[in-house]
């Protein structure tokens, strides 16, 4: 038990499995020792407080300073990865000298990811100025989930990650979040009083899209600072890579809502830089956990591409993606491309054409084609093969009742900003 110090790795019984976990924090509650553990090789959202009796003390405890341990490999992965990547970045930089049209299939470069390694912390902060998300926060405090429960609308939701809500609120068992203004309260009475005064029934912006199911509101971070900050705080609870380092001014927030007789209920949102230097068409994207696994994520993604189509631009989500983000995007990309290719009457197409039709970047398209094993080399040339599996999956998908964005209902002109409006100091 003395070995159970912060940083030590132990085997923890979870879901009838023994999983290696790293102790991140210790706490004494009601005389009981509690440990906050991170399961190695599992997402941080599964980190939790455990009792000492969940720890298998029979198995060896790996101390953090033990260099010979086998798990060290994993923890040291970062260093390795970065070293391996430095060579890669040099390679890609060499490749970038070649024509932009030519893509190396073996080394498809995910936008914005390759450069991140090897950056110093300062550089990283520097980079944050333009980006909305951020690589793993190395600070210990922020590794530990600080809120236990939020009550939002009619749902009780367990937060996944740390979020810098006022530190006083972390003492509460649950915090109350107003569904419309996203204001947060530690006291129920406060929340009650607030609700009795609040008249807002929808995100405080202009409705730019409305169909039977969802509505989208466009909100300028500069004009609705409080709301957007609240939104960011909330989404940080569920987005590990999100950073709240800088203020919300450079972003536009597109809030997706469903509506009922009470008002417009926030389901998810994505943020978008007013001016993206790296061609991102989306910074952060979140479907609130209470609405997850209903296909809203894909609607959000589709909507982000609809906006790009209106702008006549191609775009890609800001990296890094989260695990859920990656899956959602892959699903959207695959579906979009397969649908396009099957529906296409011509027997040939260029990647560029696909890109201009879908507003997806060529890199994303090639990725997707590769993941689906559709890009083949046949009789001396590249072809796109609609494999049986792909068609099968597509048919299956067609049977599902999916909701799609109807671009005709989008009443939106790309907002334009003057240079001074894009200078975000204040």
């Amino acid at each position: 038990p003395n070995d159970l110090i912060i940083g030590a790795k132990v085997f923890v019984l979870k879901d009838e499995k023994e999983i290696l976990a790293e102790i991140l924090a210790k706490n004494l509650r009601k005389g009981k020792q509690l440990f906050y553990v991170h399961y190695v090789n599992y997402n941080k959202r599964l980190d939790q407080w455990i009792n000492i009796n969940q720890i298998n003390l029979k198995k060896p405890v790996i101390r953090p300073d033990d260099p010979t341990s086998k798990t060290d490999k994993i923890t040291a992965k970062k260093g390795k990865a970065s070293s391996s990547k430095t060579s890669k970045t040099s390679k890609t930089s060499k490749a970038s000298k070649e024509s932009k049209d030519i893509m190396d299939l073996d080394d498809l470069d995910v936008q914005g990811l390759n450069l991140k390694d090897g950056l110093t912390r300062n550089q990283e902060i520097e980079k944050l100025r333009s980006g909305g998300s951020r690589a793993n926060n190395h600070l210990e405090v922020s590794k530990i989930r600080n809120l236990n429960k939020i009550i939002m609308g009619k749902f009780e939701v367990e937060p996944w990650y740390f979020s810098p809500y006022p530190i006083e609120l972390t003492e509460e068992d649950e915090i109350y979040i107003c569904e419309y203004t996203l204001q947060y309260f530690g006291f129920k009475k406060q929340f009650e009083r607030f609700r009795s005064k609040c008249t807002l029934r929808h995100p405080p912006g202009n409705e730019i899209y409305r169909d039977d199911l969802v509505s989208f509101f466009e909100i300028d971070g500069k004009k609705q600072r409080i709301y957007c900050r609240n939104l960011c705080l909330l989404s940080k609870l569920f987005l590990d890579h999100k950073t709240l380092y800088y203020d919300v001014d450079p972003f536009l927030f597109y809030c997706m809502t469903i509506k009922d007789e009470e008002g417009y209920h926030l389901v998810g949102y994505f943020s978008k830089e007013k001016e993206s230097a790296e061609g991102y068409n989306l910074a952060c994207i979140l479907t609130l956990p209470q609405y997850q696994r209903h296909g809203y994520g894909k609607i959000l993604i589709q909507f982000s591409y609809e906006l790009s189509k209106r702008e006549h631009k191609v775009g890609s989500p800001e990296k890094p993606l989260s695990d859920l983000g990656l899956l959602s995007y892959r699903a959207y990309w695959s579906e979009t491309i397969v649908k396009l290719l099957i529906g296409n009457k011509r027997s040939d197409i260029t990647i560029d054409e696909i890109s201009s039709i879908t507003s997806m970047t060529t890199a994303d398209i090639l990725h997707t084609l590769q993941t689906l094993n559709m890009l083949r080399y046949y009789k001396g040339q590249h072809i796109i093969v609609l494999t049986d599996q792909v068609i099968e999956q597509y048919e299956k998908l067609k049977k599902k009742k999916r909701h799609y964005i109807d671009s005709e209902k989008l009443v939106w002109k790309p907002p334009t900003f003057t240079a001074s409006q894009l200078r975000f100091g204040w």
């Binding site: 997402n43 992965k77 990865a81 049209d101 030519i102 299939l105 995910v110 405090v141 922020s142 609308g153 009619k154 749902f155 939701v157 996944w160 809500y165 006022p166 569904e179 309260f185 530690g186 009475k189 406060q190 929340f191 009650e192 607030f194 005064k197 609040c198 807002l200 929808h202 405080p204 202009n206 409705e207 509101f217 409080i226 900050r229 800088y246 203020d247 919300v248 008002g263 956990p289 209470q290 890094p320 993606l321 989260s322 695990d323 990656l326 892959r330 040939d348 197409i349 560029d352 590769q370 993941t371 083949r376 080399y377 590249h382 072809i383 093969v385 494999t387 049986d388 200078r423 204040w426």
Partner: protein, 972 residues
């Protein structure tokens, strides 16, 4: 993952792919040999995911990716159907939710536009919590009975004001929480009116709009009536303050409701994860004066725009308040009426008098006339032609008809109304409603279909058609009139439009009219009956009716100003009128002498300006001029009883002309000038031709004139001798005529003198007479000198004159009778004829020499002409810079023109009509006509000569013609 054998194909497989490369899209089923060809299963691990490296290998993600990959490649069937990444549970419902989220929300049909912020919609920012609640309950318990308990809203309002005062007054309270403001301080702060606080804005709006209460739309309407802050502070302030202060100190001076942790500039370390939403570094823009000016300018603009917007909104608000009030009043009226109705029925008051129920009856009826009026108007439109052609009676008839119809309709209306009133119970509401409607929409009165008047249907089509017809007719009439006007007028110019004159030729004076169409001079002989010329009947009016004269308003043609004070005698340009020439001859402005200097240079000397005062001063002294004018007028009246002034010798005219000259010296643009004064304008523009065309015309005129003048000079020289002989003969004859007069006066002299002596004397006298005449007539000494050899020597001078004037940039020449004369009046009357003749001959020779020179240097002359042309046009272009230039030239040229014409008769008249009354001569001299008459009776040589003059005049004509018009305008 089974590693497939690497085939040869894969080894050389192209790794690069262009996005522009066309790729065949094929189905797997179409490619049976695909699997064998495509042996390479690419290791999908190498495919970048875009997920953070450390997370890429997380087990759940891997599981899903692998499954997807397996499904895609078909290597193995997925084990589980739905593989997903597990997330913490979020499906739990909160049972109390309905307590906090209530109310029906009506979704607007259009997309929501919204710009209010969260704060705008959340009421008082302070939210009371459990601790406050507890305190509040205890507070209310201990209250005396007569005070209503403090509500939660009131408590929040008080606390909010505490917080606000502290946050504004003590932003750094957290440094020393105990130094918190006392209740008194806060009270003073909170209760002093802050012009930008919500409450004071509301109050000021209430004052301004005179409307209560002004509510924020986003604030929830509270059912409880809230007491004012002053009252609340008075009642609960101290107690709540103590409670609040304790909490505040406990919080270390921070707000009681927790707030986000923001960047602290004093702390360099930003490792605190709770610090969020930092400011971005803002590179300060370099401050320059220009940037400052720019931004201040923009601020001003913004301010103005905001003011404008506010004004608009205020007006809208006022309008809406009025509208609301009127609606409320209507509703009240309606209610009152129903009340009256009900009472009547209850009290059994039967009356047909519906006035108290329908006080608006009359008004309504008068309104019902409206459609009739409208229809009348429309009738008028449709039958516009008929109406205009018909006399008044027929129109009256129509009116009567309409009136009778109206009356009929009124009766009917009343009837129906009374019928309706007969059954009040069922219809009262409807009726009142209709009344209200009538009140509201005054322009529309709905009539039953049977009562719609039988009027022809006015369709837009008809109206438009009529309009078109009328237009076409008007145009046709204009064209017709123009044709009539143009009768006998042949347009040989490039001008698109002939001058709009009514011209009749005084045929009795013109014997040979063949050449007239080609003569521009001819146009000046015409009796012009343009709109600005006083016709005969009008002139009679002016002459005979004195009272009419008094009522004349003088309209300044140049600026349109009406001058009532200046008494202007109507002046008539009537050349046939017989009056004393002496009146009209002004002193020469200056004299010009041309001489050849020692080294062959031609010098032009100007004399006669020496004694003049500063012309501008003199000119500016208007009072004198006017006095003078009136004096002169009186004198004139005395001298010649009822002689009407000529345009050309009126001092008023001169005065006005000179005054108007200053109008050219303005800052106004060319366009404005041309509008104000279409005369002093570019001749090219006035002729409606391009500058180039004008230049060519002018140049060619000069050229032909000069060549002709050289030719004619020889002829005329020879002719001059004949003329002189004739002149002498004529003088003799005249003498005989004169002798009789003389004999009466100088009988003694005549008897004593011998015949030969007499002849000489007579000649001498004749000469003297003529001299005297010359003196009186001439305005330029040059011309006097040339009386015997006129056009010949005058020619080069005429050429030179504009040149000279242009070059000298002529000084303002004030024509005044007091101008010192250097005329040959000083010459003794006893001058011998021979001397004079010698003098004349000398001048003739001189002139001839000049002509010879000009002949010899014709090329030179041409160059000169070019120069003239150029310089003549240049000032026109420079109109803006020296605007007083062109009119002067015009005046000069015009004077010259007249002089020239004055000269001619002296030459020709005696020769032609020796018996003619000398007065008539003078009169003719004044005229262009006279010239024409002569020319028609002269020898062909003479005619040629005349034509030469014409050519000469033609160049001047363009301007003088306009000048003439201008002067006529003044007459008006």
């Amino acid at each position: 993952m089974p590693a497939p054998p690497v085939s040869a194909g894969a080894r050389f497989r192209q790794r690069k792919i262009s996005v522009k490369q066309t790729l065949q899209v094929l189905r797997q089923s179409d490619l049976p040999d695909l699997e064998s060809e495509d042996q390479v299963q690419r290791d999908f691990q190498h495919i970048e995911t875009g997920v953070e490296k450390s997370e890429e290998e997380e087990e759940h993600l891997q599981a899903v990716i692998n499954a997807a990959h397996a499904a895609a490649t078909g290597v193995s069937k997925p084990v589980k159907k739905d593989l997903f990444i597990p997330t913490p549970d979020a499906s739990k419902l909160w049972p109390e939710a309905s307590k906090y989220y209530q109310g029906n929300f009506v979704m607007p049909t259009s997309y929501i536009k919204f710009s209010a912020t969260v704060n705008d919609t959340s009421g008082v920012p302070y939210n009371l919590d459990e601790i406050d609640e507890e305190f509040l309950i205890s507070l209310n318990k201990n209250l005396p009975n007569h005070i209503d308990p403090c509500t939660e809203s009131e408590f929040e309002l008080i606390c909010y004001n505490f917080e606000k005062a502290v946050s504004e007054k003590q932003p750094y309270l957290s440094m020393d929480p105990r130094s918190i403001l006392s209740f008194k301080d806060i009270e003073v702060y909170s209760l002093t009116e802050n012009p930008i606080s919500d409450d004071s804005i509301k109050a000021s709006l209430e004052r301004e709009l005179n409307y209560k209460p002004i509510v924020n739309l986003f604030e929830k309407e509270s059912n409880e009536s809230q007491r004012s802050l002053i009252k609340l502070f008075e009642l609960f302030g101290p107690q709540i303050y103590e409670h609040w202060k304790d909490r505040k100190i406990e919080r270390g001076g921070k707000t009681i409701a927790p707030i986000l942790k923001f960047e602290d500039p004093s702390e360099k370390d930003d490792s605190d994860p709770y610090v969020c939403f930092r400011r971005r570094e803002f590179r300060q823009q370099r401050k320059t004066r220009r940037a400052d000016l720019h931004s201040s300018e923009r601020l001003r603009k913004l301010h103005q725009e905001l003011i404008n917007a506010r004004e608009l909104i205020m007006l809208v608000a006022k309008r809406e308040i009025e509208r609301k009030n009127s609606l409320l009043l209507e509703r009240k009226i309606f209610q009152e009426r129903t009340q009256v109705k009900r009472l009547r029925r209850e009290l059994n008051i039967e009356t047909d008098d519906i006035d108290d129920l329908l006080p608006l009856k009359k008004k309504k009826l008068s309104k019902s006339i409206d459609p009739n009026n409208d229809s009348k108007i429309s009738n008028g439109i449709i039958n516009g032609k008929i109406n205009s052609n018909k006399d008044k009676n027929s129109i009256d008839d129509i009116d009567d008809k309409i009136k009778s119809k109206k009356e009929l309709r009124e009766k009917k209306l009343q009837k129906t109304k009374s019928i309706k009133d007969g059954s009040p119970g069922s219809n009262s509401f409807l009726k009142s409603k209709r009344q209200a409607l009538g009140q509201l929409s005054q322009t529309y009165v709905r009539l039953p279909a049977s009562k719609i008047p039988d009027l022809p249907l006015v369709t837009v089509e008809n109206v438009l058609k009529n309009k078109d017809n009328d237009l076409a007719k008007a145009v046709a009439e204009k064209i017709k009139k123009k044709r009539e006007d143009d009768k006998g007028w042949v347009n040989l110019t490039d001008d698109p439009f002939n001058p709009f004159f009514t011209i009749s030729l005084p045929n009795e004076y013109i014997c040979d009219t063949k050449h007239l169409p080609y003569s521009s001079i001819a146009s000046s002989i015409f009796e012009i009956q343009s709109s600005n010329f006083i016709n005969e009947s009008l002139s009679k009016l002016f002459n005979n009716e004195k009272h009419l004269r008094d009522s004349i308003l003088a309209l300044e043609a140049t600026n349109g100003a009406i001058n009532e004070k200046v008494e202007i005698k109507p002046e008539f340009y009537n050349p046939m009128l017989d009056y004393d020439i002496h009146k009209r001859i002004s002193e020469p402005i200056f004299r010009l002498r041309k001489r050849i200097s020692r080294n062959g240079k031609i010098m032009i000397d100007r004399k006669g300006l020496v004694k003049k005062e500063d012309p501008i001063d003199e000119f500016l002294n208007f009072d004198n001029t006017i006095n003078e004018e009136t004096l002169n007028d009186v004198k004139n009246d005395e001298i010649n009883d009822k002689i009407i002034n000529s345009v050309y010798d009126s001092n008023i005219e001169t005065f006005i002309r000179h005054e108007s000259r200053w109008q050219f010296d303005t800052d106004s643009t060319e366009l404005m000038q041309s509008k104000a004064n279409p005369i002093g304008h570019d001749p090219a523009k006035l002729n409606c031709i391009s500058n180039d065309t004008q230049a060519i015309r002018f140049g060619s005129m000069l050229l032909t004139k000069s060549s002709e003048s050289t030719k004619d000079s020889k002829i005329s020289l020879g002719r001059m001798k004949i003329i002189q002989q004739q002149l002498q003969q004529q003088q003799f004859h005249q003498y005989q005529l004169h002798q009789r007069q003389q004999m009466q006066l100088k009988q003694m002299q005549l008897q004593q003198q011998s015949q030969a002596q007499q002849l000489q004397k007579q000649q001498q006298q004749q000469q003297q007479q003529q001299q005297q005449q010359n003196i009186q007539i001439k305005s330029s000494p040059l011309i006097i000198q040339q009386t015997q050899a006129p056009q010949l020597s005058q020619q080069p001078q005429n050429q030179q004159n504009p040149l000279q004037k242009v070059q000298q940039n002529i000084q303002p020449q004030v024509q005044s009778p007091s101008q010192p004369s250097s005329l040959p009046q000083s010459q003794s009357q006893g001058q011998q004829q021979q001397q004079l003749q010698q003098q004349n001959q000398l001048q003739q020779q001189k002139a001839f020499q000049k002509q010879q020179i000009s002949q010899q240097n014709q090329q030179k002359q041409y160059q000169k002409q070019q120069l003239v042309k150029n310089q003549y046009q240049q000032p026109q272009k420079q109109n803006l810079q020296s605007p007083q230039f062109p009119p002067q030239i015009q005046q000069q040229l015009h004077q010259q023109f007249l002089q020239q014409q004055l000269q001619n008769p002296q030459l020709a008249n005696p020769q032609l009509n020796p018996q003619l009354n000398p007065q008539l001569h003078q009169h003719l001299q004044h005229q262009l006509q006279s010239q024409q008459i002569q020319s028609s009776q002269l020898t062909p040589q003479m005619q040629q000569f005349q034509q030469q003059i014409k050519a000469q005049q033609l160049q001047n004509q363009q301007l003088p013609k306009k000048q003439l018009q201008k002067q006529k305008q003044f007459v008006m």
